[in-house]
C-alpha cells in the first residue's frame, strides 16, 4: 500500500562509504544501457515528455554520495553518475527509496512533495512532465533487470525481492492487490 | 469609439453612490451601467437612489442600463435577478442566470463577467437578443480583433475593458469578512471601509491584488491608452471605464480627449498617473506576457 512518507527508508550511512571511492564510469555505462532498454520498451514515456524530451534532469538521491544525470535525448537516453552537484534544467532530490517508490507507483509525487520528502528545483514543468511520464509507463525495475539477466533471471528476481523485503525500498511495481 | 462607465464594483455609502452617478452627467461618457454587481447584501443601502440617478443621467443624454449580479446563488438573489427587467431599462447580463428571466426577444447587454471567448458564444448570445457585449478583460488583442469582426456581422456593439482595477475572480466566500474573522452572513459590511478595495500585498510587500468582499481585483489599474488605435481599427465601439472613488470624471475626460485625437497615449498615461499618483497601471491582458504587464514599464513618468 502507499506508504506514509514518514516511513521512507534511508540508505544506511555505512553502506555509502564504498560509493565515495568507487569509480562511476562503469555504473554510468550500465545505467545508460539499462535506460535505453527501457526506452525501447516504453517509447510512449518519451513521447509524454513532449517539449521536455531534451531536458537535462538531475536526480539527487540525498542519502547517497552521488547524483544521477538523466538526459532523455528524445528517446535515446544517457545516464551519468557523478559525485557532487551537477547542473541541469531540473533537479529532483529525495531519499533513494522515495525516488524508486515514485517510479514504481508506490508513492504519490504530490504527497511526497507536500511532506518535503521530495525537493524540486529549476524547471518545475519539466520535473512534472517526467513524473507524469514515468507514472504512466508503469515501470518495474526488478522485472526489467531480470529480463536483462538472461539465464540468471530467476536468481536475479530472488535477490532483488530479498533486498526489497530487507530494506523496504520498492525495486518493483507493487501488485495491484498490495496497494490495499 | 465612445465611453461606457461601468457599475461600481465597490461598496459605497448611499451619499457617495448618488454623488458619483450624478457627477457622471457632466462627463463625456455615452452610457452608464449601474446597479449591484458584486454583493446582493450591499444593494439595500443605496437602492432608493437608483431611480434618481437614472433620471439625472437620462436627462443628461446618457444611455443607462442595469447590471445583474455576478454570481447568483440565493433565492433572494434569483428574485432580484428576475425583477431587473421590470425597470424598463436594458439589462446587462453579468451571470448567465439572468437569461431565463428575460422575456423572449428582449434586447440585452452582456457584461465583462460573462465568458464570451469565441465567435460561437457571441453568435449564440446575439441570437437571443444581445446588442452590446463588453468582452472579458482577460482576452488578448488577437481575440478582440476576431470577435469585433464577428460582432460587426451580427450587429452587436463590442466594448473592451478600458480603465480600472481588473475583476479577477468572484467567490462564494467573503474575504473581507474572513479578514475580520466573520462569516459572510455576519459580515457587518466590512468592505464599506475600503472605497477602492483593500490592498493585498505579497510577503515581500509587493502590491498584488485588491480585496473587495466576495470579489478579487488586480492591484493595478488597467489602462488601455496604448491600444486605442488598434481597438478602434478592429471595430471596437466603446471603452469600458470602471468607477473608482477618486478622480473619475477627470479620467473620463482624459480618455475622451485621447479618443478624439486631442492627446497622445503617452500624455494620457502621464495624466492618469498625475490624477492617481499612487496607482500602478497594466495593459498586459490586451498585449503582454501576463495581465499585470504594462507597456510603458513602471512607473509612468509624469511629464
Amino acid at each position: 500500500m502507499p506508504q506514509s512518507p514518514a516511513m521512507i527508508p534511508r540508505f544506511p550511512q555505512v553502506a555509502t562509504y564504498p560509493l565515495r571511492v568507487l569509480p562511476f564510469a562503469p555504473l554510468s555505462a550500465i545505467l545508460t544501457a539499462f535506460s535505453r532498454k527501457i526506452a525501447q520498451k516504453h517509447p510512449g514515456m518519451f513521447r509524454r515528455l513532449g517539449e521536455h524530451d531534451h531536458t537535462r534532469f538531475v536526480l539527487d538521491p540525498t542519502d547517497l554520495p552521488f547524483v544521477i544525470c538523466l538526459e532523455p535525448n528524445g528517446g535515446n537516453p544517457r545516464v551519468t553518475v557523478t559525485r557532487g552537484r551537477r547542473d541541469g534544467a531540473a533537479r529532483i532530490a529525495g531519499p533513494l527509496a522515495a525516488l524508486l517508490g515514485l517510479v514504481h507507483g508506490a508513492y504519490d509525487g504530490d504527497a511526497l512533495f507536500f511532506s518535503r520528502d521530495l525537493v524540486i528545483e529549476g524547471d518545475t514543468a519539466a520535473a512534472l512532465a517526467l513524473r507524469n511520464a514515468v507514472d504512466d509507463a508503469e515501470l518495474d525495475f526488478a522485472q526489467e533487470l531480470s529480463d536483462l539477466s538472461g539465464p540468471l533471471a530467476q536468481s536475479m528476481q530472488r535477490v532483488l525481492a530479498l533486498i526489497e523485503r530487507r530494506t523496504g525500498v520498492n525495486l518493483s511495481r507493487p501488485e495491484e492487490a498490495d496497494l490495499w | 469609439m465612445d465611453l461606457t462607465a461601468g457599475p461600481t464594483q465597490f461598496f459605497w455609502s448611499k451619499d457617495r453612490w448618488l454623488k458619483f452617478y450624478t457627477s457622471l452627467a457632466d462627463t463625456p461618457v455615452a452610457r452608464v451601467v449601474l446597479g449591484e454587481l458584486v454583493c446582493s447584501k450591499r444593494l439595500p443601502f443605496y437602492q432608493e437612489h437608483i431611480s434618481e440617478a437614472i433620471d439625472t443621467l437620462q436627462n443628461a443624454g446618457k444611455e443607462v442600463a442595469l447590471t445583474s449580479l455576478a454570481l447568483v446563488t440565493l433565492k433572494r438573489e434569483r428574485k432580484l435577478t428576475a425583477d431587473l427587467v421590470d425597470m424598463g431599462l436594458p439589462v446587462e447580463v453579468n451571470d448567465l442566470s439572468t437569461l431565463p428571466h428575460l422575456p423572449k426577444g428582449t434586447p440585452f447587454w452582456v457584461g465583462p463577467l460573462v465568458n464570451v471567448y469565441n465567435e460561437g458564444t457571441l453568435a449564440w448570445l446575439a441570437s437571443l437578443g444581445a446588442t452590446r457585449v463588453c468582452l472579458p478583460p482577460e482576452l488578448p488583442l488577437e481575440s478582440v480583433e476576431v470577435l469585433s469582426k464577428t460582432a460587426a456581422d451580427l450587429g452587436v456593439a463590442v466594448e473592451v475593458w478600458g480603465h480600472g482595477r481588473l475583476p479577477l475572480a468572484i467567490s462564494g466566500r467573503c474575504y473581507h469578512a474572513r479578514l475580520h474573522g466573520r462569516t459572510k452572513d455576519n459580515c457587518q459590511f466590512a468592505c464599506e471601509d475600503d472605497p477602492d478595495g483593500l490592498e493585498v500585498k505579497t510577503l515581500e510587500g509587493q502590491p498584488f491584488m485588491t480585496m473587495n468582499g466576495v470579489q478579487t481585483l488586480s492591484d493595478t489599474h488597467a489602462a488601455a491608452v496604448y491600444q486605442t488605435d488598434t481597438l478602434a481599427r478592429a471595430g471596437v465601439s466603446a471603452l469600458r471605464l470602471s468607477p473608482q472613488s477618486q478622480g473619475f470624471p477627470a479620467i473620463c475626460a482624459a480618455y475622451h480627449s485621447l479618443l478624439q485625437g486631442g492627446t497622445t497615449a503617452a500624455t494620457t498615461a502621464a495624466e492618469l498617473q498625475s490624477l492617481t499618483p499612487d496607482a500602478r497601471f497594466s495593459d498586459g491582458f490586451l498585449q503582454g506576457a501576463c495581465g499585470a504587464d504594462w507597456s510603458a514599464g513602471q512607473p509612468v513618468p509624469v511629464e
Binding site: H52, G109 | L113, Y117, E119, L147, T150, A169, T216
Partner: protein, 327 residues
C-alpha cells in the same frame, strides 16, 4: 441507487488503475488546451482515448471526456474536433463549459450526451434548467460555492442530474470565472487549461526555508519541517490591513467523505474526485475508499472511518462550502 463515483485519470495507466479500483466512471481529457488540466506529461492522445474507453467499457465503467476550456476566438475548430473525436472514441459523454461549444455540440452531435462542467459555474436551478432546455444538458457538475441545503434545493427544482466534488483540490473562486492565474503568469484555466502553471513556478530552498514563487510573486515561505504547499494563487500567504496569512483559503484540500449520506439525501447523483494531475496510486486508493463508502451506504452499513487522511499528506482537510460557515 448506489451513488456514482466519478474518478480522474491524467494518464491511461491512471484510467486502468481507477477502473480496476472500482470507479463507476472515469473522466479524462485530450493532451491539448481543450481541457482544464493541460499539464506537462498528462492526458490522452486520440489512440490512447480510444483504448481507454474500450478498456473501461470492457470492465463496465464509463468514460467522460472533459472539453471544458473556452475555445479561443479564431481557433474554435480545435475544440470542435475534440468533441467529434470524443464521440468517435465512443465516449459516454462530454463535459463542456462554453455556451458556444454546447450549442455546436447540441447541433452537430445530438447523440452525444452533454454534461455541464464545473467551469460553467452554474450555481442555481434557473440557469441549470436553462442549460438543459437550451442545450439538452443531462448532468451538471455543481460549483464549489454551494452548501448542502442549497444543493438539496437545486435538486428539488431540476431534473438535471447533479455531480459534486467530494475529494481533492478545491477552488475557492467560482470556477471558470477566475483570471488570477493569467494576471500573474499569462496562462489561465479558461483559455489554456492551467492554473498557477508549473512553468511559472520557482522553488528556492536556503537554510531549510523554502520560497515558492509564481510568475515572480512570492506565494509561500515555509520553514524547515513545515509542509510545502504548491504555489496556487488563491491558497497563498499574503498581507492585507494588519493581517498576514492565507487571506483567501488555507492550503487545504476538500474531503467531504463524511457528508456522503447528506449529499445522497440532497439528491446528488454522482460524487466527483479531483486530481487528474495525481499519480495512479493516489487515484486508485481514493477510488477504492469512496467506492467502499457508497457501497456501505447502499447496503445500510456505517461508513468506514477516516479513510483518506494520509492521502493529503502535509495538507489539512476541509468540507469547503458544503458547510455554510466556510463563506
Amino acid at each position: 441507487m448506489v451513488m456514482e463515483i466519478v474518478c480522474p485519470a491524467g494518464t491511461p495507466a491512471a484510467l486502468r488503475a481507477a477502473v480496476k479500483a472500482g470507479a463507476h466512471t472515469v473522466y479524462c481529457g485530450f493532451a491539448d488546451e481543450t481541457n482544464a488540466r493541460n499539464f506537462p506529461g498528462l492526458n490522452f492522445d486520440r489512440a490512447e482515448m480510444r483504448e481507454g474507453v474500450a478498456f473501461a467499457h470492457q470492465h463496465g465503467a464509463k468514460v467522460l471526456v472533459a472539453i471544458n476550456t473556452f475555445p479561443r476566438a479564431g481557433h474554435e475548430a480545435i475544440w470542435h474536433r475534440a468533441v467529434a473525436d470524443a464521440e468517435n472514441c465512443d465516449a459516454d459523454a462530454v463535459i463542456l463549459a462554453d455556451a458556444g461549444l454546447l450549442a455546436h455540440t447540441a447541433r452537430h452531435h445530438p447523440g452525444l450526451r452533454r454534461h455541464l462542467s464545473v467551469q460553467a459555474a452554474a450555481a442555481n436551478a434557473d440557469v441549470i434548467n436553462y442549460y438543459a432546455e437550451t442545450f439538452g444538458v443531462k448532468r451538471v457538475v455543481l460549483p464549489r460555492v454551494l452548501s448542502v441545503p442549497e444543493i438539496a434545493a437545486i435538486n428539488a427544482e431540476t431534473e438535471v442530474e447533479t455531480e459534486v466534488f467530494v475529494f481533492g483540490g478545491l477552488c475557492v473562486m467560482a470556477e471558470g470565472r477566475c483570471s488570477l492565474s493569467s494576471y500573474a503568469t499569462g496562462k489561465s484555466p479558461n483559455m489554456n487549461g492551467v492554473c498557477s502553471p508549473a512553468s511559472h513556478v520557482e522553488y528556492h530552498e536556503e537554510n531549510g526555508v523554502l520560497d515558492a514563487r509564481l510568475g515572480g510573486y512570492i506565494i509561500h515561505r515555509v520553514n524547515k519541517g513545515e509542509a510545502a504547499p504548491y504555489p496556487t494563487l488563491c491558497k497563498g500567504c499574503f498581507s492585507a490591513g494588519e493581517k498576514t496569512g492565507h487571506l483567501f483559503e488555507d492550503p487545504v484540500s476538500l474531503n467531504a467523505e463524511k457528508l456522503i449520506p447528506q449529499l445522497q439525501k440532497a439528491g446528488v447523483t454522482a460524487l466527483k474526485i479531483e486530481g487528474r494531475q495525481r499519480s495512479r496510486s493516489y487515484v486508485a486508493q481514493v477510488v477504492r475508499n469512496f467506492r467502499a463508502a457508497v457501497d456501505a451506504l447502499d447496503a445500510g452499513r456505517p461508513l468506514p472511518e477516516g479513510m483518506l487522511a494520509r492521502l493529503s499528506e502535509g495538507q489539512a482537510m476541509t468540507t469547503g462550502a458544503y458547510k455554510k460557515t466556510w463563506r
